[in-house]
Amino acid sequence: MEAIYQYAWLIPVLPLVGALVVGCGLVSFPEATNRLRQLNAVLIISLLGVSTALSFALLASQVQGHLPYRQMLEWATAGDFHLQMGFEVDPLAALMLVVVTTVALLVMIYTDGYMAEDPGYVRFYAYLSLFSSSMLGLVLSPNMVQVYVFWELVGMCSYLLIGFWYDRPAAAEACQKAFVVNRVGDFGLLLGILGLYWSTGSFEFDLTGARLADLVHAGDLSGLIAAGLAVLVFLGPVAKSAQFPLHVWLPDAMEGPTPISALIHAATMVAAGVFLIARMFPLFSSIPLAMEVIAWTGAFTAFLGATIAITQNDIKKGLAYSTMSQLGYMVMAMGAGAYSAGLFHLVTHAYFKAMLFLGSGAVIHGMEAVVGHNPASQDMRLMGGLRRYMPKTAFTFLIGVLAISGIPPLAGFWSKDEILGATYGASPWLWLVGWGTAGITAFYMFRMYFTTFEGKFRGDDTRLQAQVNQELGIHSHGDHHGHSHGHPHEAPWTMTLPLLILAVPSTLLGLVGTPFANYFEELIHTPGLESAAAEFEWSEFLTMAGSSVGIVLLGITLAVSMYLSRRLDPAAIAAKVPFLYRLSLRKWYFDELYDSLFVRNSRRLARQVLNLDARVVDGLVNLTGLVTLLTGQGLKYLENGRAQFYALIVFGMVLGFVVLSAVT
């Protein structure tokens, strides 16, 4: 078994090779490479396939109890400053490898169908491969510096991919927003890492935690500073995992192609924040204040996301807010100390959310036949009754909805139930928020399912279409008559196959983490603690599970009566509580708040600085620049091109230096 560990570095390197080969091809022979469309895809997919196989082998070996494996080499040395790089395979890393590679592989297969008509097909595959490589590298990173490097790399891939359709202004804006917001978090993370190095002298995950605790214990470091450092580090996950208050970029990021939303903004990259919290768990868990902050941030985000998701009309935006809410669950679990529950939810969520996103992609793909290639194809108001046209998609989407809502025995039930159980132990208030959110989740997910797949098809209603188009600001009404008034169709097999495959883990994966036989926790448990063999009590389990299933059923019933049987009119309810409705629809006014608070103020500040700048600083800078340039121009003419003048200068300088040396 040692052999696979020695080749574990191949897992991130293989996709990188694929990206490089295709990228080089694109740079040097663009036409030829673009002509070989599917050949490129096959190359990249097969390379990732090898990585997947290796990851499974590693996970199998870790399950059998192989010790964690780590291989390091010197990166840079200067005096006693040693920086190492390498990779580390432990159960957590092995599990994440499997999750990332499988989701990435399926998304890549799906992409072939989804992007078949796009001129950027090959470029998209190159980016996908590059992203997979960076994400796998992040998972294998053994220390904080390497994590930071890959953290930035995945961020960069994310910007590239959000702005993939750079000719759409919304996409360009979204990628800018993601960039700016993530910069805030990354800056905090970098400060935190440097601060930790400053105080503990180490970049290792476990060493920093232990040493920091010792320092605080010995009184060498104030507890507040330690908590501050921890919170700074936590800022990284806050931005990357779209936690309040840095969550605003994620819904906008849905402007990217749907496979990206599934891979990066649902399953892997956004989970990197949770992964980092898990890696730094020894650090956080030694600082109770930091744990509080983490738990409440998560809980609030979970609630916030769920309430906003209720009123979204864009299917992808709705899923995005749901992702945010689910990430909130995971962060809350981490903060409550439920290490393995949080990671378990990460894994199950990765599968069912990827499936939901890919399903929405199939829906959009089908709708484009009706409304054309524009944002209107994502609007749920124009959908309805799609189950008849695309049965496979509807079936898998339903599984996803059941899973995320937490219906036993699907995957989401077990992981969410474990989180709720653990948070109840930590703080009943946290549990209450999580419990309520579970109900809202069930409600909005079923709302989404019903409006999309059930009822009658509304896409051919031209009046509604005009209204939606007007709302979305689409003016190109006449240019899609080629598509218009067709029927939505089922997606090609390359798209439905990944959906069907993903349905399997979404259904069954929860069974490895049931409270009565928790294989998951045996593998992944809090670092430093032996597997907490908590004795299982049926009565406790039944109360917890019963209460959460109860509220979920309540949510579902509400959704059924509002959107399926139409006994309750959603519009009427909205009209009764206009404030709450608008609060949710306008996303709690966060964009507006940030706009007036940060964007405008910083603009005003910038303008004032600019004024100052234009008058004083700019003048100075320009002056220096001008002086430099003029000096350059003047000195230039010393080169008058006459060799003898040059010789004169040489001899003159020799004489000058001799005299100068004689004097001094």
Binding site: K636, Y637, E639, N640, G641, R642, A643, Q644, A647, F651
Partner: protein, 101 residues
């Protein structure tokens, strides 16, 4: 005879070489002035060799090498002057200023 006399002579010769190098208009004369400078060095070396190192006469050996290399340098220099003359029909240093600034 003193060593200083030889050194002064060499220094004077060197300075004459420098003066000629800077002031001549003909490229060939510039080359000759370089020879003058090298010969000043040779004189220096010979003087030192005779006064300070009469056993091993390293300076004289050095001089032989310098003379050899000076010959090679002069040959290359004349070849370059020749090819520039073919292209430009002149060896006037004042007119070689295509490359400047």
């Amino acid at each position: 005879m003193h060593l200083q006399f030889f050194l002064l002579l060499a220094a004077a010769l060197f300075c004459i070489g420098v003066y000629g190098l800077i002031n001549s208009r003909s490229a060939v004369r510039v080359l000759m002035c370089i020879e003058l400078m090298l010969n000043a060095v040779n004189l220096n070396l010979m003087a030192f060799s005779n006064f300070l190192d009469p056993q091993e006469i390293r300076g004289q050996v050095f001089t032989v090498f310098v003379i050899t290399i000076a010959a090679a340098e002069a040959a290359v220099g004349l070849a370059i002057v020749l090819s520039i003359y073919r292209n430009r029909d002149t060896v006037d240093m004042e007119r070689f200023n295509l490359l400047k600034w």
